[in-house]
Symmetry: C2
Subunit: 188 residues, 2 copies
Amino acid sequence: MRYSNTHKQETRQKLLDSSRAIAKKGGFDTTGVDALMSAIGLTGGAFYSHFRSKADLFAELIQLETELSTDMLAGDDNSPPDHVSKRIRNYLSTYHALHPEEGCVLAALGPEIARASPQVKAQVEAMLKRLQRSWATRLDDNDAGWALLAQCVGAIVLARVVESERTRQEILASSRRFVEKVQQPDQK
Amino acid sequence: MRYSNTHKQETRQKLLDSSRAIAKKGGFDTTGVDALMSAIGLTGGAFYSHFRSKADLFAELIQLETELSTDMLAGDDNSPPDHVSKRIRNYLSTYHALHPEEGCVLAALGPEIARASPQVKAQVEAMLKRLQRSWATRLDDNDAGWALLAQCVGAIVLARVVESERTRQEILASSRRFVEKVQQPDQK
DNA sequence: GTCTATAGCATGATAGAC
DNA sequence: GTCTATCATGCTATAGAC
């Protein structure tokens, strides 16, 4: 064969990785297949050797995004006691607000996910519940799991819709202080 | 003239009102001019008698949305002391999560606004700052203004990306309890 | 596995009839 | 002021050459 065994797999992975960033930056519906393919040096027609439809790519993309984010944010048995507040401080950063392409998929594509198929939303829900349980257990507060997730996503959305850098900083700083006030001292 | 003096004004207002709901439900970029016009019984070509471009409609739409929301949420001198917690309870409702077309534009179109022109984002910022100042003053807590706004927007986004009604309720209930814990007793 | 070419349709926007 | 018709362009998806 003209192409190696793993060539298709590699191309698929490159397309997936590249599309994740592009979709989070410019929106998924708004971005055409041609743009996604040319970003990895291929033409639009070749897309359908890798995915049956654009919606299929979206489903895999969201699945991958939520898995990676949840793995990072939830932490494991080796994570320190202040794991959650560390992750939150990192989430509520100016860098995150200014770089949606590297950031959380919920803050960047939340409304598009809300309009997606039940299958996609069920996948997202499963990952979110895992993350919520992890945080609720660590903080010993059932409500704090969901509430802190909402705080994070909402603050980044707000920080991105305003124009001035100053207001963006204010929103993030207020949100960080608010979260710290709520958390117990021994978890900081 | 074949049409009354106020006919154009009325049509423009109808188009604006109709488009607000459609955009919040299905996304603005995703919805075509034809769909927006046929929703008020007109054809696509007539759109450009009322707006110079689709982007112009978006700007006016966002302006109107943020004004109306801010007026409602900020309250005035006649509002009761528990104004803020009442509005937040209302915002964090299942009805709001299930009806984006009637709800907050930030939760529905946040990422699209984030990609909009600096002019649009500056308008949104002005309204958000007015709302933030109002809440911060009422609660006598500078951080709470931005933080509670973020909590509201984030909770609705989360509630909309999950599939099961049960999880949606959990998210909203946790967020409501979290907000109540934080607020002072005399403001409830 | 990727290419070009193309089908079929929707888009944003314009021109001219009424 | 709204209509139909139209343009140019974009889209998703398919077929067939290489």
